[in-house]
């Protein structure tokens, strides 16, 4: 028993005398109110799940689910997606990265592929990682949202990447920021033996609220001075204020690659939006058919933890990226609902026949 509201034990008569609700004191008339609530006679809706009401809803739900499922499957099928696992494509690079002392040695790697058909519409470029436990608790909590808000923080929760031994704070601190995906991937369209770099957009890929509210650079007259007194995270090649030298609004903490990386994934296999194809010139309708090359600056080591990395080109439909699950689930449950509808109808009819038989 938890806490006793039992009146007899809690209140003895001495109190009861003072409490007319409970009291033993006799009142001349204690006729209870005749209100609907007190007599438990409030007007109420008393639904009964009878076959008559349920059967139509079964069929309706079934029909809705089937229709929805078909739409979803169609839309999922309309999504074009191509995926390349490039973790072993350049075996020398992956070998190089296994030894962390080679961190400053550059390594480039190209992946060629051919598009048989045009990919029409907006084309998104993702990088995908496998077996990368971004959702590990130790990893998830190792960040400082206050720092990323541009505030001066004394206490941060970035262990084990808070400060260097000499006390210089890391900016941004924490394991998440430290392990930011740092491959650069460029896409080239090989047209008549000349490679045209596919124009891509670096911004507009993150949540608007993240970009504009949740991530702020510290205020100062320029960016590098804002980060004065801090040092880059140990695994970074460059300080945070040099993440995007070309675009001031995409630099520092508001760099979208950083922002996207900082939103940790739900599972160990995940993809993050990297770039969008800018729809100009010959790419106005998307990616035309032809030969393409990914030129990748291979920095991010994955073989050390038996992971894989991918580069993905995908379009999206109204339902998002390619994922047949929702469509199939709708179709299956629609079918199930309809079938049970039929079964129940059968049972119902059979029983009704019996009923009439009895009544005879």
């Amino acid at each position: 028993r938890y806490s006793s509201f039992s009146r007899r034990q809690e209140l003895d008569t001495l109190t009861k005398v003072h409490n007319p609700l409970i009291g033993t004191k006799t009142h001349p008339s204690r006729c209870p109110d005749n209100s609907a609530f007190k007599q438990q006679k409030l007007p109420a809706w008393k639904p009964q799940l009878t076959p008559a009401t349920v059967l139509p809803s079964f069929f309706l739900t079934g029909a809705f689910c089937l229709a929805m499922g078909v739409c979803l499957i169609l839309s999922a099928n309309s999504v074009r997606e191509i995926q390349f696992d490039y973790s072993d494509k350049c075996s020398d690079c992956s070998k190089l990265r296994e030894n962390s002392s080679n961190w400053n040695k550059e390594c480039h790697c190209s992946v060629n592929f051919t598009l048989k058909e045009d990919i029409l519409g907006d084309v998104f470029m993702y990088y995908g990682l496998q077996n990368f436990y971004q959702n590990h608790r130790r990893y998830v909590i190792s960040r400082s949202d206050a720092q990323l808000l541009g505030r001066n923080v004394n206490k941060s929760y970035c262990a084990p990447f808070t400060t260097y031994h000499n006390g210089t704070p890391m900016a941004p601190c924490g394991a998440i920021a430290n392990s930011m995906f740092n491959d650069t991937i460029d896409l080239f369209y090989n047209l008549n033996s000349s490679a045209i770099q596919v124009p891509v957009l670096k911004t507009g890929n993150s949540w608007w609220t993240d970009k504009n509210v949740k991530f702020r650079n510290p205020k100062s007259y320029n960016l590098s001075s804002a980060f004065a007194g801090t040092a880059r995270p140990p695994y970074w090649h460059k300080p945070v204020y040099l993440l995007d030298k070309e675009d001031e609004r995409n630099n520092g903490y508001v760099n979208e690659d950083l922002i996207i990386w900082m939103r940790v994934s739900a599972f160990a296999t995940f993809r993050n939006l990297y770039r969008r194809v800018k729809r100009i010139r010959q790419f106005a309708d998307g990616l035309p058919a032809g030969n393409y090359t990914f030129r990748i600056s291979y920095n991010f080591p994955v073989t050390k933890f038996k992971g894989r990395k991918h580069v993905i080109l995908s379009t999206v439909a109204w339902s998002g990226g390619s994922n047949p699950f929702l469509g199939i689930a709708y179709v299956v449950s629609g079918t199930a609902a309809t079938l049970t509808g039929f079964v129940i109808t059968a049972i119902h009819l059979k029983l009704r026949k019996k009923k009439t038989f009895f009544q005879k």
Binding site: L11, Y133, R137, A266, F267, R276, F305, L326
Partner: protein, 1097 residues
């Protein structure tokens, strides 16, 4: 058990105390050591301002559940756990604070009440002067003056009053609810001392027993030291004791000396705790809790084990991107494993929710109001409705298997109507039933033969003198006064003679008779005795019995209560002896009543039987229908009465406890006989019945218990003496299994009548049944003081606010005005409360299982790192805000079956019998449902997240969105599941269910809409709003809710179809034989009683 403890306590208090009146030493020479007594402060409060916090906290954390949550909280504070201490600390703090505030408030009320009593002004006579003092300053031995309409400040020995005859009137309404006036008598030798000076001159000591809680018992002795006489000793009884809490009425003022003060007054002793009854539901909750605790422990163990298995791979243990902290590296592995285990415990601890206890308590507390609010249980006559003394047992009302009921005042009205009398074997019967027979002796009384005039006169004299009637005096309008002699004089003047009352020995249920000794004007001494035939017949001349016995037996058969009247002439010598013995007995400090009874016992021998009266105690309205309904509801009704067998039997027929078809088995003194062979005879009878009922009956599985068996119904009649023979056999031949055999017989009978029961025997029977295998739920209902023991003993005690005072209703768990109200109380209220609370409990376990299961499953995908799936706010609020109110509203308002249907169709009660909704089967069903839904939630969203770009702009969702989607599906499913179960949608249900969902959405927007300065991480920032921009998420949420609820909907539909089918089929089958098998309704009483002889074995 409780009673035994009480008794033990009483024994300890044996001993006497000496009180010196007015603190004046009796003589200077006596070295008098003052006994130390407690002061007159009433302390009903538990706490003081200083010890409130520690004491209250200590008491709260002594409860096992609170302690568990405290441990979890401490673990969270000390160990680095995935959820912040706030998540469990906040609810715990809330609960503790609310409870503390409630208890503090109640204690404050008690303090106030105490103060009011303790600080009230009283007048104490000191040195012949009145001194005004605060009540708490009264010491034992103080002489206190009390004026009219004041309450006695402590237990006083009544010394003198303003009225010359030394009496005062008192009402004890606040003590036992009896509002009539009672007369108390001053000590005979001090009645004259009615001024301050006179009373101050009194030198006396009082010896009395140590305080004991019985309000109606007191023995003591006062020794008065006159100035130059021998000390006089006078006996003191309850009539000399004025109890604290009672009020002085119709008397200007009285003087009394304090004997018991403060916490030793009878009032204070009476309000010290009663044993607490616990309901079967609570036991079920505890069993389920253990299951869930096991689930919790195994989940934590599985996760911890797998974590270390998983980490044995160095790629997983510490990949380059996720280095261990220094602290983690430094701790020992065993310690780390232990903390990991604790962390998992903390992560999954929400599976056992604090809020369940709060909700259950709230449900019980608030729900019980519906009983006292019920207009149908309001009685116009006494102007009162039902009273709920405890809210802990509401649901137990829906689980009753055995009903033990008193007869007089419970089944019957307890208002006696004169039917007939017989004098010397001649019958006098009244034609007009509702007239006072006495006043019309010569009028319309029809007589069949006539006795001698003198015998008639004697008979009437006996009736006029032998009573303790209280009459209402014309000049005293505001109350009833006990005034026995007065009536005696009044009526006896009619008969033509004056009598002086010498001694009275009141009626008591053990002796079953009362006697008076009077002196006529001519100086003749007469003893009149009236009582039950069984106690009178052995004490009169045997040759006189026969002619009266015929009448008495006939009357008893007709269901009337009979009273035999006898008298005896005493010689002066005999009287002197009796008088001396009685006075001796009255002076005795201990066992006074027994001694007095003994004297009368000796005096009441060789009397002459004059005649007998028969009065009818009418059945209460609808008591027969109620008993029939209880039977139909599968309850077994036992009547436990002090009445004689024949009367009780005919009442049982009248109220349809026994049907004409019921075969009666008798175990009575008559059957067993009187001789030494009675044990053998009893043995034979027992074996015979046992054979008949148990061995010969073909074993039809499950059909015997609680069902309409078409086979023979049996009824058992047993009386007190046989029962004591069975329970406490004199020789130890083979006694112990008598009880077993007897019990087996009893349990096979649909109705049992126990007559000639002493109060304690009633409790014994209840205890016996209560402790049988399967421990059935018992209910006792009674109206008198003699039922208190069984009311306290049974699982549920119900008092009738009847004519025999308030003791029964004061000691009961519920009090109703009439027996018929039992029907609605059990069939409607009990049933509903049970269904409500059972559903509440199951639902709570269910909703927390599907709450925590996804979090458990998530561990398999996050490297067993204790990463919580939901945000801390959601973890905390889930049980407190999002899902608590709908279930509370459901558990207060639900009526899955209409109240009227429940009341009119008793068989519905059997649907919930044997704790049906909290058995392992339904529990497993709910658990599987919870597990299924948990799996659907998690894996549904898991597959959806195979591609985390769910918007049409290619942006991706992270782990918090994942958790939020799962949580949204969870909240909606769990709430809609309750909506599916709700069969009674009042506006409150609508408000609370849709309101909760709306609140969840609103809260999520709000929580995600602000950067909270006090948070470590802004993980939920715009997560919910962003989630809702994705069409896929919407579709997934809808689909998953549907899939989760689909099996449930399907099941309900199938069940409905099957039920309807059953109903139709039953209707078809029943239709034909229904008209034939209609149970015989009320038949004329006489017919039944005559024919029933053939049914007796």
């Amino acid at each position: 058990k409780h009673r035994q403890q009480m008794c033990a306590g009483e024994e300890k208090r044996v001993g006497t105390r000496t009180v010196v009146v007015g603190h004046r030493p009796v003589s200077e020479t006596d070295a008098y050591v003052a006994q130390k007594f407690c002061d007159n402060r009433i302390v009903s409060s538990k706490y003081t301002l200083w010890n409130f916090l520690p004491k209250n906290l200590f008491e709260q954390f002594r409860r096992i559940a609170n302690f568990y949550f405290l441990i979890i909280f401490l673990v969270q504070v000390i160990v680095d756990t995935p959820t912040s201490p706030v998540t469990s600390g906040l609810p715990l703090f809330f609960v503790i604070t609310v409870t503390a505030i409630k208890q503090g408030y109640e204690d404050w009320l008690r303090h106030r009440a105490d103060n009011e009593v303790n600080k009230s002004n009283v007048f104490i006579v000191e040195n012949a002067k009145q001194v005004q003092k605060e009540s708490e300053k009264i010491k034992v031995g103080d002489i206190v003056e009390v004026k009219a309409d004041e309450t006695f400040p402590c237990d006083l020995i009544f010394l003198a009053s303003s009225s010359i005859d030394g009496t005062c009137y008192v009402t004890t309404a606040s003590l036992d609810g009896e509002s009539n006036f009672k007369t108390h008598y001053a000590v005979r030798d001090t009645t004259v001392l009615c001024t301050d000076e006179a009373i101050d001159a009194l030198t006396a000591t009082i010896e009395c027993e140590q305080p004991q809680p019985d309000l109606y018992k007191f023995v003591g002795r006062i020794i008065i030291y006159g100035s130059n006489q021998e000390p006089v000793a006078r006996s003191l009884g309850p009539e000399n004791l004025l109890l604290k809490g009672a009020t002085l009425k119709n008397t200007k003022k009285i003087y009394g000396v304090a004997v018991y003060t403060g916490m030793e007054t009878k009032m204070a002793l009476n309000y010290q705790g009663k044993s607490q009854k616990r309901s079967a539901v609570e036991k079920s909750i505890n069993a389920f809790l253990i299951v869930y605790l096991c689930i919790l422990l195994s989940k934590a163990t599985v996760c911890t084990t797998l974590k270390y298995v998983w980490q044995s791979n160095p790629f997983n243990d510490e990949p380059w991107y996720n280095e261990k902290t220094k602290k983690e590296r430094d701790t020992f592995k065993v310690l780390r494993m232990f903390t990991d285990f604790l962390s998992f415990m903390v992560l999954f601890n929400f599976i056992i929710p604090v809020s369940m206890y709060v909700t259950v308590e709230m449900q019980k507390f608030l729900g019980s109001f519906f009983i006292s609010w019920d207009k149908e249980m309001y009685d116009e006559e006494i102007k009162e409705g039902a009273l709920v003394n405890t809210s802990d047992l509401n649901e137990e009302l829906g689980q009753v298997e055995y009903v033990f009921t008193d007869k007089t005042g419970t089944l019957t009205e307890n208002s006696m109507e004169f039917i007939e009398c017989c004098i010397d074997g001649h019958k006098y019967k009244d034609c007009i039933s509702e007239v006072d027979g006495f006043s019309q002796t010569d009028g319309p009384l029809k007589y069949y033969g006539k006795a001698e005039k003198s015998r008639e006169e004697l008979f009437l004299r006996a009736l006029c003198l032998c009573h303790t009637v209280q009459i209402k005096e014309a000049d005293q309008v505001d109350g009833l006064i006990g005034h026995p002699e007065h009536v005696g004089f009044l009526i006896s003047s009619l008969v033509g003679g004056r009598y002086q009352l010498l001694h009275v020995l009141n009626f008591d249920p053990v002796r079953r008779r009362m006697s008076v000794i009077v002196r006529t004007t001519t100086g003749t001494l007469l003893l009149f005795c009236k009582g039950a035939d069984s106690s009178i017949f052995p004490r009169v001349q045997q040759e006189e019995i026969q002619q009266t016995k015929v009448h008495v037996d006939r009357n008893a058969m007709d269901g009337y209560r009979t009273l035999c009247v006898a008298f005896k002439e005493l010689t002066q010598k005999e009287y002197d002896k009796i008088d001396r013995q009685l006075n001796e007995a009255k002076m005795a400090l201990q066992d006074r009543e027994e001694k007095m009874a003994k004297v009368f016992e000796d005096a009441e021998a060789d009397m002459h039987l004059i005649g007998a009266t028969a009065v009818e105690d009418r059945l209460q309205e609808q008591s027969a229908e109620t008993i029939e309904a209880l039977h139909a509801a599968g309850m077994k009704v036992w009547v436990l009465t002090g009445d004689k067998m024949e009367t009780a039997k005919s009442t049982c027929y009248a109220c349809r406890l026994f049907q004409t078809s019921t075969e009666l088995l008798e175990l009575t003194a008559k059957m067993v006989g009187e001789s030494e062979r009675k044990e053998d005879r009893l043995h034979e009878l027992l074996m015979e019945y046992h054979k008949k009922l148990i061995q010969d009956v073909p074993k039809n599985r499950g059909g015997l218990k609680r069902s309409w068996t078409l086979s023979q119904e049996y009824g058992l009649i047993i009386d007190g003496s046989t029962l004591s023979l069975i329970l406490n056999p004199s020789q130890d031949s083979s006694p112990s299994n008598y009880k077993n055999i007897f019990l087996q017989i009893c349990l096979k009978c649909t109705a049992v009548l126990c007559c000639r029961m002493a109060p304690l025997q009633k409790a014994q029977i209840v205890r016996m049944v209560k402790n049988t295998k399967g421990s059935p739920i018992t209910l006792s209902i009674g109206d008198g003081a003699n039922d208190v023991s069984m009311i306290l003993e049974a699982h549920v005690g119900i008092g009738i606010k009847g004519k025999e005072g308030r003791q029964a209703s004061r000691n009961s768990d519920y009090a109703v005005p009439k027996f018929k109200h039992l029907r609605k109380l059990l069939l409607a209220h009990g049933h509903l409360y049970y269904v409500r609370i059972a559903h509440l409990v199951q639902y709570f376990f269910y909703k927390n299982l599907c709450f925590i299961l996804p979090q458990f499953l998530y561990q398999f995908f996050c490297g067993f790192s204790q990463q919580p799936l939901y945000d801390a706010a959601y973890l905390t609020m889930y049980n407190i805000c999002f899902t608590s109110l709908p279930i509370l509203a459901y558990s207060l308002l639900e009526q899955h079956i209409n109240i009227d249907t429940l009341t009119s169709d008793p068989q519905l009660y059997m649907k919930v019998s044997d704790n049906a909704m909290l058995q392992w089967r339904p529990f497993l069903y709910w658990t599987f449902l919870g597990a299924f839904e948990g799996l659907v939630f998690f894996f549904g969203v898991y597959f959806l997240f195979q591609n985390s770009s769910l918007e049409d702009n290619g942006k991706v969702f992270g782990n918090w969105t994942f958790g939020t989607i799962v949580f949204t599906v969870l909240v909606f499913t769990v709430t809609l599941k309750l909506a599916l179960d709700t069969r009674f949608w009042t506006w409150m249900n609508h408000f609370v269910i849709w309101g909760s969902l709306a609140f969840y959405v609103f809260f999520s927007f709000f929580w995600g809409g602000v950067i909270w300065p006090f948070l470590k991480q802004q993980r939920m920032y715009f997560v919910f709003a962003h989630m809702l921009t994705s069409v896929s998420t919407w579709l997934a949420i809808v689909l998953l809710i549907f899939i989760s609820l689909f099996p449930e909907i399907l099941l309900i539909v199938l069940k409905n179809i099957r039920e309807k089918n059953h109903q139709v089929r039953n209707k078809m089958i029943r239709k034909a034989p229904d008209s034939l098998s209609a149970r015989p309704s009320v038949r004329p009483l006489l017919l039944r009683t005559f024919s029933d002889e053939s049914n007796v074995l």
